[in-house]
Symmetry: C2
Subunit: 348 residues, 2 copies
């Protein structure tokens, strides 16, 4: 599915999901009916997932859920793709703000930009997702939604992760891509529910995860509709954060945008706790999952003390309530898709 | 598709869409491959619709649109169901407020409730959709979303339109039900985009229109997540309107909730003008439609002077730009589904 952003968006989306066809490296296992989750090591976690999906799709069983109600929600940063050492969108915001500051000198005194100009990474990290959204809202005020999309498309095409030297969209987690595809093949409707900006995520969510724009729930800024002097209708971004889809905002976002309660939810940090509680808080079969980042060699290891993606209370609650906690090092055979883009084939 | 509201919601949904099976009155024409729109009279409007859908679905043609981009949005009040003499949800709000006022005497002094208690219909009508949303927000503050759903389910089950003496959900427009089904069979994803409250519409949109909760965009109030003393997570409705999805709010709602621009949009009043402008304002094949209420005998006749569903500027712009204007009296063979509920069969 290609969404209707721009021609450039289309080209990037195509570049991102290059099909390798018959010349794909055979070393890379493909999802199959025999093993829908080839990048997951055998063991309790994989069994729990397969068992859950089996139970809710077995029409004669006591846990059957009709397809329309198979709503799966997943956090994005740290759950579907990398979030260290800073959120990808934070890096985008920093790069954009630096590019825009010469044209908007009045921003230099505002707190988040001050930290940015001073190169104060600690102060920046302390701003969290809300600070990131403020930087984005302020630096993009007065821009149309279409123009903003284009900046994201351009940035994603050239930006590289410093440690892995790869485009960010290729740093999605292969096991989670397989899981999303597996859920969809079993009648689930997959949604992203993330603290990230909804307009940022929609640019790549379809090409990277197979999740179309209308199934992305995220934080948003105020927009205003107006007709330009040549008669063109536009939506202008304003300098105000409207909704923060994080922590207790996640169940609110789910109710507002989806209007149904998920039966399956995955997160990785304390910002996902309320989404998992909301998912757990109704009768019937339920799956609550957390990705625990335990692999400093292949990705990153962090939890209770991290500035980004802190996992503390949610880890305690998961352990107390028997939710599924993925140990990245133990449970994932591989972390990222192969660089030739073959990973996107698992989406089908 | 039955959504996961409550067991009572399920029962009402089933009652609403009673299947009549082989004993359906044969006098009621069913949609078929030969005639997907049997309740539309032959003529220019019907041809325009069939022609548009034909063009965007013909893969070899110049106007082809891939299925993922076939987004259709429709207003609800006055476009999909009746809105005179007052919006259905306004009647719900009045009935609810009257029931709740004895328990919440502090509301009696607030302007909308004052008009309500004084039986001042003129003042009430002048409040418009925003006033209605305020009555709802104030009268339902402190209630959980689940409890609110139940009040809507109960009310819809017993309320009757005064003129037609039928449940409101049976006063959907049969030609529009056929149109929604026809669009979906042609790969369109159908959305409601309405000034009405999103939590109100989601209760019946699936059963009445075949539009699931996650494809309903509407006005909303502030909600708050909390864990009750027994550990149950709930969403509590607060006494504040958050987003009014009407007029210039409609393109904003479309961008925020759907994230793609519609290629097909239908409305019936000035509150739909910006949605139609936004739909029209991009290249490629586009369909902009208005229902003009011209039939005082079978339904209602109103336009430029009406308090409810005023159609003035949008009618001028539609005529100037060659948008499609349905003349209800001329173009619709029948208005409502037959009372036995057979109309819902056209949804499939």
């Amino acid at each position: 599915m290609i969404h209707n952003l721009t021609r450039r968006g289309l080209l990037v989306a195509l570049a991102i999901r290059t099909a390798c066809g018959s010349v794909c490296p055979t070393a890379f296992a493909q999802a199959s009916a025999d093993d829908p989750l080839p990048s997951w090591n055998e063991g309790g976690i994989k069994r729990t997932i397969l068992d859950f999906v089996g139970r809710v799709t077995r029409e004669s069983g006591p846990d059957y859920v009709p397809p329309a109600e198979r709503i799966a929600t997943s956090d994005n940063d740290g759950t579907l793709w990398i979030e260290q050492p800073v959120y990808v969108q934070f890096q985008f915001a920093i790069d954009r703000a630096k590019a825009l500051l010469p044209q908007k000198p009045e921003l230099a005194d505002k707190p988040p930009f001050k930290a940015l100009l001073e190169g104060n990474r600690e102060a920046l990290a302390a701003l969290g997702e809300k600070g990131m959204l403020e930087i984005l809202a302020l630096s993009h005020a007065g821009m149309t939604t279409d123009a903003f999309n284009n900046t994201v498309v351009d940035w994603l095409a050239q930006a590289r992760d410093a440690r892995f030297n790869r485009p960010y969209t290729s740093l999605a987690y292969q096991p989670m891509l397989e899981l999303l595809g597996y859920l969809r093949r079993n009648g689930f409707k997959t949604f992203i529910v993330s603290g990230g900006g909804v307009e940022f995520m929609r640019v790549f969510a379809d090409g990277t995860y197979g999740i179309p724009p209308e199934q992305v729930v995220g934080s948003s800024g105020v927009m205003k509709f107006q007709i330009e002097s040549d008669g063109t209708p536009v939506l202008i971004k304003e300098a105000k954060v409207e909704f923060v889809d994080d922590g207790p905002g996640k169940p609110v976002g789910i109710q507002r945008f989806i209007g149904r309660r998920p039966i399956f939810a995955f997160g990785n940090s304390d910002g996902d706790l309320e989404m998992l509680q909301w998912t757990a808080g109704a009768p019937g079969a339920r799956f609550m999952g957390l990705v625990h980042h335990t692999d400093a060699v292949r990705e990153w290891a962090y939890d209770r003390q991290s500035h980004v993606g802190k996992l503390d209370k949610a880890l305690d609650e998961a352990q107390a309530k028997g939710w599924t906690v993925v140990d990245m090092k133990r449970d994932w055979k591989r972390i990222f898709p192969p660089q030739d883009g073959g990973g996107s084939r698992a989406l089908k």
